[in-house]
Amino acid sequence: MTVTSVDHDQVHAIAQEVFAAMVDGDLGQLLPWEGELPELPEPVVAWVDLHGEWSGRAVLVTGHTTAEDLARALLGLPDDDEVSREDLEDAFGEIANVVGGNLKSLLPNPGTLGLPQVGTQVPTLGGAIRVQHLPLSWRGRLLVVDVWFAAPDSLTTTGGNR
């Protein structure tokens, strides 16, 4: 198994499909980010671990306001409805879960999927290699999808709360 088993275009296609089905209703809302990457204010990070012959982690990062809007879209809430921290984390974690689950299905001899976790920092993974980095634009705002390849015993999570 190589660290390059996960293809950039496949990851983008999965993310687009997840957003089209769960969030937007059409495929055209999640595009490659153009230009320099801005700093994310109040980042929200959701990730899910993949355990098996190919072990790694799918990580989604966006800003708090964007995560709130994603939760509203996912739950069909009006734009001015308040989103609780619990709902925000659950919704963003579920998006990471579905992205990770579909990523797993691409792998030869896929193993098991961990439960989604959400935090405010990208979790550390000792010795891991980032194999894909996709800065994307959702409604003009930055959302990053990263895929990490890691030794199975390094997949102990830190910083999550779900």
Binding site: M22, D87, E94, N97, G101, G114, L115
Partner: protein, 127 residues
């Protein structure tokens, strides 16, 4: 008709329940397989269970196996609703006793199509 929606994500429980309610189902929810079994053991009557695979406490496959082991619950239709999309996983779930399999992400139309296949759409969809 009544449906039991089993998923550790409250977001997904709301999405699935909302889609089912538009199709005329009354819904109840559980956050994992053990909580769902508690509903059934308490005598809740349900026609359909929509079941996530990966959950804490009791996963969806174990729940399916437990339900199928009890003859009193054999009329309940079991549909997996999960990100587990590998062929081997689908075969495992169907072999354990699930009737249908819906892969996340899905659209409300996909739920309706699956329920149509199962003969379980109760009402015309409401707005």
């Amino acid at each position: 008709m009544r449906a039991l929606v089993i998923d550790d994500s409250r977001t997904m429980r709301r999405i699935v329940s909302g889609a089912l309610e538009k199709l005329g189902f009354e819904t109840i929810q559980a956050e994992h397989g053990r909580a769902a079994l508690d509903h059934l053991e308490a005598g809740e009557r349900v026609d359909l269970c929509c079941i996530d695979w990966n959950m804490p406490v009791m996963d969806g496959l174990t729940f399916v196996t437990e339900v199928r082991a009890n003859p009193a619950w054999r009329a309940i239709t079991l549909m997996m609703v999960t990100t587990e999309s590998e062929h081997g996983q689908i075969v495992r779930a169907l072999a354990a006793g699930a009737h249908e399999y819906l892969i996340k992400p899905f659209t409300p139309d996909a739920i309706r199509d699956k329920l149509d296949l199962l003969g379980l759409v109760a009402l015309e969809e409401t707005a």
